[in-house]
């Protein structure tokens, strides 16, 4: 009951306040009319008693103690004093900000930069880490992995083979359903052209697990899966239906040719759905994969299938994982995962889609950038606080007078804070605009190191979207900054003793006064020191990333990456089995080498700097590994012209020749890393090796003789890990048909694309060129993430440095101005310019040293954070330390010399007279 009353009174009060704010005139009229009525009645009464009307009116007014006081009192009873004060402060604040446009613009711009940068970063972090992937009830979607635990190694998350997935599917209970998917690029062939089409090979329940909706048609059924080998069906994405099929309403039942196989369209998903890979434009049942993708898709013992599950309503994640651990062991017992050693433990585990989608490196980079942005915001706040402190100094008389007249300190603080709030509000609006714009412009480069985490085909879904969250973040942030930059100066400004300041400015010589000048300067001094320290932290981080990035870019890749065109050929392996693949590749290469502008061409499983290189366990004839696991080495099936085409030197022995054909002795070439790892201090040439994969070399009887050693080439993405051992064999002795083609051109590689594509289609019109890129683009893409982080951090650090410089400049200018008289006297007495400059510089250099020392200490304490992101760069890189220190000193000196010189240019006579 009491509560209801309180609530009602509160409601009435709020209504009154709102009315005061927005309906002021009506309210005033109400007050006025009511009192006027009273006054009229009173006058009439007096007149009735016989008074003359004018006297009656005057007496009546006197009796009412004057209208104004009445109105004041009434407003007080309405409890609207606070609102009134605020409105007055607002007007006052806006007025005084207008009178000092330089200060206002500077403050707003500084803060807008800080808020804008923070809002942008928030948008990026939010889109990459917190915004749910675009699926219904996404919190119940999980990724399931086999887990391999090696006692002293890291835990590895593996994908599934089809047989293992089937076992899993039939044994889990904690899910509505689990479904399989693998990302493939199909070739969509039409009458006159062929184009790549990103697709997912899925089990029949996949689309219902993902809760896909349909614009047309239906989902896969178990029948589609069973009849897929003879009557393959396909579901298309909304985008493909619109762009490639003209949004035809009668598309259901039509045929499309994918990888040379004719599929019947049975459905079109609703707009926006692109599967768990985030890029899928079509879905085909796993049963159709053996015809269109890989003949042994459903039988091969490779772990390449992603499994996604939808948790049953009410089942907790941990419960599901407990069940999965047991099932994982059972599956491994039934279908052992190779390579198995007695020491490894195999089980299975789930992770939420949200955890799975983000590469750990991306996340770490984003957090680092977010931290840097907050530091930038802090620098901006300190800068504005410093400006306010300076402003308070020029206002102390005004404030002292108001205090003397009885204004309470809290009232004055409130007024100063209102002024700060005006700055923050405008800056907030500008910052939000900047942030909203920047979030749509800056793209987090899609990760290509994805396969290292869980190796699942999961998209990042990191597309930033400007929504209410980003805007409210800007609002909240702006409110926080008011406290950050406004409170301390406001408290400081109102602390002044009344007497001193009233006699104040004129008797600047008094000892007490100058002591206080110093005290106030101390606070600004502290502000500048903090700013410098924060900037040093950012500069350190930026310097390290920059150094790391430059080293990354200048790394010797081991081959000539200029004038090189690369692309993938993915013919269906059903059409080109490994027995016919060498002949197929030979035709492709000879067609390409006949194209004008092409010097030579070769094939490989992967291009340098990519993650797609295949590996195999390697065995050395006459040297069994015993208890050890056979080491994994990268396997390359290449053309005789391979090393010549890439510009890789043969260090020892020979390159392949046309004579190394099928039926001839098996030969292999290794890189220097392999030679020094497996035959240290020995000559590797003449040794014989065989591999678990690739049937041709799969036993000691069919081993290959090492005939050459070549330079190391960086096949893995650059991340500081050592070059892996590479083993090359001629494609003529064994190859898959699905290959990366590397073409050395005479000029710009992109100009050869059309000719090369035509050459490929002369061999097989159903073939499309996938992933066409110049080698230089491929290299730059491989460090796109580092470049992104470095560019962003450099920008942030640059802005912070600029703000810090502005801060130093402001303080020095202030210091010099307050000493103008002293400088004038010394100049008049014949002091030399250089002495005065050095004397003034002394104090700012002290600040710079203190700030740098503080900043370096913090930076070193934080160095652990960046170490993991650096490439061949130590967190205490001496050149970076020196560079940061020198930069800092340099800018501080410049920022201080300028105002001093300006002061010196003024005729001493003027400063003496005016000062």
């Amino acid at each position: 009951m009491e509560f209801v009353r309180t609530a009602r009174v509160a409601a009435l009060r709020v209504r009154a306040m709102l009315r005061t704010l927005f309906d002021r005139r009506a309210l005033k009229r109400d007050f006025h009319d009511e009192l006027d009525e009273h006054l009229t009645q009173l006058t009439a009464q007096y007149v009735a008693r016989g008074m003359p009307p004018d006297v009656a009116r005057r007496d009546a007014e006197r009796a009412m103690d004057g209208m104004l006081r009445q109105q004041e009192a009434m407003r007080d009873t309405l409890g609207v004093r606070l609102v009134d004060d605020f409105v007055r402060d607002l007007k006052y604040g806006v007025g005084s900000l207008r009178r000092t446009p330089a200060f206002t613009v500077m403050g707003i711009a500084t803060l807008a930069i800080g808020i804008g940068a923070s809002t942008t970063m928030f948008g990026l972090v939010h889109s990459a880490m917190f915004r749910s992937p675009p699926f219904e009830e996404v919190e119940r979607l999980v990724l399931l992995n086999m887990v391999q635990r090696t006692p002293d190694g890291p835990e590895r998350r593996l994908l599934w083979s089809w047989p293992r997935f089937r076992l899993l599917e039939s044994s889990v209970r904690a899910y509505d359903a689990v479904a399989s998917t693998s990302s493939v690029t199909l070739t969509l062939t039409r009458a006159d052209d062929a184009e790549p089409l990103q697709a997912e090979v899925v089990s029949s329940r996949y689309l219902s697990v993902m809760r896909a909706r349909f614009t047309l048609g239906r989902n896969f059924t178990a029948e589609d899966d069973m009849q897929a080998a003879t009557q393959p069906t396909v579901i298309l994405s909304h985008a493909v239906w619109q762009d490639r099929l003209g949004a035809a309403s009668d598309v259901l039942g039509r045929s499309v040719v994918l990888n040379g196989t004719t599929f019947t369209v049975i459905g079109v998903t609703s707009a926006g759905f692109q599967g768990i890979s985030g890029v899928a434009r079509a879905w085909i049942p796993a049963g159709a994969a053996s015809r269109a993708v890989h003949p042994s898709y459903q039988t091969i013992d490779d772990n390449f299938i992603t499994v996604v599950g939808r948790l049953r309503e009410g089942v907790r994640f941990t419960e599901a994982n407990t069940e999965l651990a047991v099932i994982g062991e059972r599956i491994h017992a039934a279908q052992p995962v190779e390579p198995d050693t007695p020491r490894d433990v195999f089980t299975a585990a789930a992770m939420t889609l949200n955890d799975a989608r983000l590469d750990a490196r991306t996340a770490r980079g984003l957090w680092l950038l977010a931290g840097a942005t907050l530091v930038l915001l802090l620098v901006a706040c300190v800068n504005v606080a410093s400006l306010l402190l300076g402003r308070a100094a020029t206002r102390r008389r005004e404030i002292a007078i108001r205090l003397a007249l009885g204004a309470s300190r809290s009232r004055l603080v409130r007024q100063l804070l209102t002024e700060s709030a005006v700055i923050a509000a405008i800056a907030g609006v500008l910052g939000a605009i900047v942030g909203a714009w920047a979030t749509t412009v800056i793209h987090i480069p899609a990760t290509i190191t994805r396969s290292r985490g869980s190796s699942a085909a999961v998209g990042e879904f990191a597309l930033p979207v400007v929504d209410w969250r980003i805007l409210s973040f800007a609002v909240v942030l702006s409110a926080c900054t008011v406290v950050l930059f406004g409170l301390l100066p406001a408290l400081q400004a109102t602390r002044a003793t009344i007497v001193g300041d009233l006699k104040g400015a004129t008797s600047a010589a008094s000892a007490k006064q100058s002591a206080r000048w110093k005290a106030r300067f101390g606070l600004r001094e502290a502000a500048v020191t903090v700013q410098l320290a924060l900037s040093v932290v950012l500069l350190m981080g930026c310097g390290l990333l920059l150094t790391s990035y430059v080293r990354l870019r200048d790394t010797q890749l081991g081959f000539d990456s200029s004038r090189m065109l690369t692309f993938m050929l993915r013919p269906s392996e059903a059409k080109y089995a490994t027995s016919t693949a060498p002949a197929f590749i030979a035709r492709i290469l000879s067609e390409i080498e006949r194209v004008p502008g092409v010097q030579s061409a070769t094939v490989d499983g992967c291009a340098p700097l990519s993650v797609q290189c295949a590996s195999a366990s390697m065995h050395i004839v006459g040297r069994p590994w015993g208890n050890e696991d056979a080491p994994l080495v990268l396997r390359h099936y290449v053309a005789p012209s391979h090393f010549r085409t890439l510009g890789v030197d043969v260090v020892r022995g020979r390159a392949f020749s046309e004579l190394d054909r099928a039926g001839r002795p098996h030969v292999a070439i290794i890189n220097e890393a392999a030679a020094s790892r497996f035959w240290p201090g020995e000559n590797a040439i003449g040794k014989r090796v065989w591999f678990d994969a690739a049937a041709t070399f799969a036993s000691a009887d069919s081993s290959a003789e090492i005939v050459g050693v070549v330079q190391d080439v960086t096949y893995q993405p650059l991340d500081g890990s050592p070059v892996q051992p590479d083993f090359f064999t001629p494609y003529a002795q064994f190859t898959y048909a699905s290959r990366m083609v590397l073409v050395r051109t005479e000029g710009d590689p992109t100009r050869a694309i059309a000719g090369v594509a035509a050459a490929v289609r002369r061999v097989d019109p159903e073939l499309a060129l996938f992933d066409v890129m110049s080698m230089e683009d491929r290299a730059s893409q491989s460090w796109s993430k580092q470049r992104f982080q470095t560019a962003l951090l450099t920008t942030i650090a640059g802005i912070a440095l600029a703000l810090a410089v502005a801060g130093v400049y402001g303080v020095t200018a202030y210091l010099v101005a307050s000493r103008a008289r002293e400088i004038g006297v010394r100049m008049a007495l014949g002091a030399r310019t250089i002495h005065i400059v050095t004397a003034s510089l002394g104090s700012t250099i002290k600040l710079a040293l203190l700030g740098s020392a503080l900043g370096l200490a913090v930076a070193l304490a934080l160095s652990r954070v960046v170490t993991t992101m650096l490439y061949e760069t130590s967190a205490v890189e001496p050149t970076v330390l020196a560079g940061v220190a020198l930069t800092m000193m340099g800018v501080v000196v410049v920022a201080s010399v300028v105002p001093v010189r300006r002061a010196l240019r003024v005729d001493p006579a003027i400063t003496l007279r005016d000062g």
Partner: protein, 111 residues
Amino acid sequence: MSRPSDLVQGTLDLLLLKLLALEPLNGWAISLRLKQLSSDELQVSDGSLYPALHKLEQQGWVTAEWRMTENNRRARYYSLTRSGRGQLKHEADEWARLSAAISRVVALQKA
């Protein structure tokens, strides 16, 4: 104008609530009615009448609306709300208790 005894603090609210319980009135009428009913013993300074009325309005005990007076002028009429009635009863009880207690003390001294 002789100054009648000041109203005991807080009793103005009670009087206003009581008057408005009888019928809705405007400010002028209230001041007249107060004088009439108390035989001119109680006179509220015009300066405190309106703030008091507005405070009652804020508390939700009375509501106000613009109406025409008998002689066709616009005036703000106050009337008691339901919770105002409750408050009136509460304050009247308090007053009765208080005045009885005071009377007892005063009577005691006279005896």
